[in-house]
Symmetry: C2
Subunit: 264 residues, 2 copies
């Protein structure tokens, strides 16, 4: 792959010109995903620039998701990310929660780490569960692994007044371990009818970068999910998913009537 030298008439900064050329080369398919890419030294000599200029050009492509570096080894075209389609819907069946269902459907092993505590609710959590700050809630932190690789983490909150002393007090223990939230609450006679998911996207926090092994240039989905019965919220959770591993899929019906149900 021959790349022309920089055009002195181009008004853009050198690093931008290099970035543009390299991006074009990647998009035109000159490099295969996973293939070794010209490193800092190569770019220095090819474009006659200082190392930091070559480095800056590469950094932009890393932050844009085109490249990744492996320290002491080299620079590579990022692999075509294998996105798992994650249909986000909730059923009343008991067998397994949605994560395990998705993973096994894709032929992956599914492991779930969970840790449960009873803690007083902070104001934000209390608001989401229609409680008062300080009321006791069951907090469970999860980490989900597919084929041994962390792929999702979440923290869920349930009012202690509802579940404490029942068979589902600790979500990952007892007869309903691994079942979905809807099935677990059904076992108490608490009938969940609605779920709301609010999706944000943001850079990973430092702890998420390590826990979920999020590479540079990747952001995360931040989902706030709340389950409600006809009268009250009964579970709320914050779910964090690296953006290079999942596509979220929502499928729903378009209502038949002209009525505005004033959902908001």
């Amino acid at each position: 792959m021959e790349l022309p030298e920089l055009d002195p008439a181009d008004e853009r900064p050198k690093h931008q010109q290099i970035t543009a050329r390299l991006r074009q080369a990647i998009e035109s398919g000159s490099y295969e995903p996973g293939e070794r890419f010209p490193g800092e030294n190569t770019l220095m000599t090819r474009y006659q620039v200082a190392r930091s200029t070559a480095r800056q050009a590469l950094a932009e492509l890393i932050d844009s998701g085109y490249l990744r570096t492996e320290p002491k080894v080299g620079t590579f075209v990022r692999d075509d990310r294998q996105l798992i389609r994650k249909p986000r819907r909730y059923r009343r069946t008991k067998d397994t929660g949605p994560f395990a269902t998705d993973a096994r459907g894709a032929g992956l092993s599914a492991d779930i780490e969970a840790a449960t505590e009873t803690v007083p609710a902070d104001q934000a959590t209390a608001d989401r569960l229609n409680l008062h700050a300080g009321d006791q809630v069951i907090r469970t932190r999860y980490r989900f692994l597919a084929n041994g690789r962390p792929i999702q983490s979440s923290t869920s909150y349930e009012p202690a007044a509802l579940t404490l002393g029942t068979l589902i007090e600790r979500p990952e223990e007892g007869p309903y371990a691994g079942a979905g939230v809807v099935a677990r609450f059904d076992s108490l006679g608490v009938h969940i009818t609605h779920v709301t998911e609010e999706i944000r996207v943001r850079p990973p926090r430092p702890d998420e970068t390590t826990d979920l092994q999020v590479p540079r240039g990747v952001h995360v989905f931040d989902i706030r999910r709340t389950f409600t019965t006809d009268s009250r919220p009964v579970e709320t959770a914050d779910i964090t998913i690296p953006g290079d591993r999942y596509a979220l899929v929502y499928a729903f019906q378009v209502p038949d009537d002209e009525q505005d149900p004033a959902t908001d």
Copy 2:
């Protein structure tokens, strides 16, 4: 705000130590959103490092969404971005499309730019619409502005065989201009019953950075939406939304029966 000097015993690189201290200062509220932040020169003298090291520390905080720079002016704490909750739902009513409805509901002006062409479908688009590559499709590119600010762009595709020669041939002209997709197709007697949205998160492409004014350190939602009747897809669109302005909200009912509708 006094910051201690670097700890020589700390094994982390200097730029990481500086980043960690600065992030802590921001999160603890030592700087207000929008407030001026110590610049490269200040950090150089305060921590006794070279300019590029100070610069690298700041770059990490910019990419993490904490700071923004204004060339020739300074470095500032990023404003608490007020997220707009964007309910994603579709109704059958005619009056206005969901974008205009939501924007006006939030007290914003809504402007839509649109350009329509008839083009042959490429393979990917043909697959999404159950057509053959080369079949004619109506492609419309949109840019949505709220209070004059670009906030969403999209490209939609409809089979020309369905709409060519009808009143809704060009989505943004005729009696159904500005109406939602469902209402437009209803006018042809084509009854949309389902919609699927597939959400990804990725860095903006260079053209999106300018068109949508996406700042560094912000990624975008990439939504592939497809409307279908009971028998076939009739419209598909790629929607791009900057991740720092919107939270997507999905609200739905949990089905009552144990049946698995095998939606996928």
